[in-house]
């Protein structure tokens, strides 16, 4: 009984620890980039940077703003708060100066969309099966 509780406790603790639940950045296999740093990622998600290194258009997918995986992604990978992104996207829509990411309803839909959209980029929680997709590795910028 105690062993089970202990295992449960560790499992719950691991779930909460962001080290294990870290999000994975996924892209369509045709994307030429194999790694990306956080400020490039944030330029992509701010809809400023629109092309991969070979000129292919980037198609950006996101989960809803209140989604936990989305919040993890923005905090850990973009080093931004999700409200900052929301404000940025609101500005694009309501000043007519740009298009915003396509919102998908679930991680399953995210995988489906990124798999079938050339140039597509998205994210899912760690541990999710991402076969058929390319995972972008994070590099630290030389700061």
């Amino acid at each position: 009984m105690i062993k089970r509780l202990l295992i449960f406790w560790i499992w719950a603790g691991l779930l909460n620890s962001s080290a294990i639940a870290d999000t994975q950045v996924i892209v369509h296999p045709s994307v030429v980039n194999s790694s990306v740093n956080s400020h490039t990622l944030s330029r992509i998600y701010a809809m400023q940077l629109k092309n991969w290194n070979d000129g292919q258009s980037i198609k950006v997918f996101v989960l809803p703003s209140k989604n936990q995986t989305h919040r993890q992604f923005t905090l850990r990978k973009l080093k931004l708060q999700s409200h900052q992104l929301d404000r940025l996207w609101n500005r694009l829509i309501f000043t007519g100066t740009g298009r915003t990411p396509i919102v998908v309803k679930s991680e399953l839909e995210m995988i489906e969309k990124v798999k079938t959209t050339p140039g597509g980029i998205g994210y899912v929680s760690g541990g999710v099966d991402v076969s058929g997709l390319k995972v972008l590795h994070e590099v630290q910028s030389n700061e």
């Binding site: 258009s57 209140k66 080093k79 708060q81 609101n90 500005r91 007519g96 100066t97």
Partner: protein, 426 residues
Amino acid sequence: MNKFKITLLALLMSCFSSAYAIQLTAESELHGFVSQSFVYSPDNAYAGTNTNTGSFDFREIGLNGAWEINENFRVTGQVLSRKVGESADGSLQIDFLLMDYLAHSTAESNFGVRLGRVKNAIGLYNSTRDIPTARPGLAVPSSIYFDSFRDTILSTDGVNLYGSYFAESGTLSWEVSSGVSGLESEVMEDYLFGTEVEPGELDKVRLSGLKVDFSPNKAPGLLMGVSVLKVGFNLDDAQTTEEAYSKAVAASGGDSTNIGLIQQEIYQNIGNYVTSTELDSLVGVLYAQYAYQDWVFSVEYLNIYTDLTIGIVGDLVTEQTTSEAFYLQSEWFFRENMSALVRYEELYLDADDRDGSDKPRAADSYYAYGKGLTFGLSWDFQESWRLVGQVGINEGTVWLPVSLQDEQAVLKRDWNTYMLQLSYQF
């Protein structure tokens, strides 16, 4: 539009399944927002005397459509209705309507052209001042984005070129625009001369703008920028010097030899003898914003240099004025769906006459400046919904929106405002 209609509209909107947009076709979508505010301004009437006891006469409704014709070509537009007490009547305006062509786009840089009505990117908030969720707190800082002439510099009908450059050190973004904007002639004539000018019409305003901002890769939460806008307008179809003089002679009794009486008539009723008006103004805003963890710090400085030349019966009088303003603001996002705001700001209409004592006004002794401390609290209590409360502690009436009706009311130097705003966005 009464309160019932607003509530109904909001309820209807909340029934749409997607909280993000109404997808019309695969390439087009609809967005919108509604806001309803309560304004209590016990000391000075805020856009109308109803606010002395509290008024609900403040709402905004916006509807936005975007159509992506292909990867590089978009058409988008937005209509807006603003009811601001007695200062704005809620009539539908075209907020923006543009075609956007992305001419060049690579991983190093991009560049595009927009044609039509495009919002002017002045400072941090001009282009989003009417969007409830894009504002800090309830309303944009009054010191920089004051209400007078907001419609004149809100957008440009013309050409807009934009681009970004992704350098090693950071991202540089720029925008250049040129075109015209509409002007409510009677309002401007009243502001400049104290009366309407007959004959003569202040018609179109010429606008040219430039904006450059930079966000360094070493500090991606930092944004620094400068925007400059050149504004110019003239009086069209004004009377000639001869016509004005004849009018002055007739009005002073008909004796063309009594120069003293004629001159007195002219001085006392300048608005009737305007033969020309030329205004050239340069608006400059320096801004910086730093986002760090749960905090966003913003600071802006405004400088407006105006050269106004008025002809009274052919005699030219020129006046140069420099207006200055700044604010310091911090926002704290202490919860996932809540934030608090504190802001201090100042505005001086004439940097050389900061208390307005050079040109006193009868009922409004403190018209030339403003100082304010603002506290706000935002709560996104539901998906797509936001409730914001704001308290403003002000000194000086420069940014008090005054409706034309209560122009003669004696205004107090110290005045507070208490506002609450409910908004919905899809």
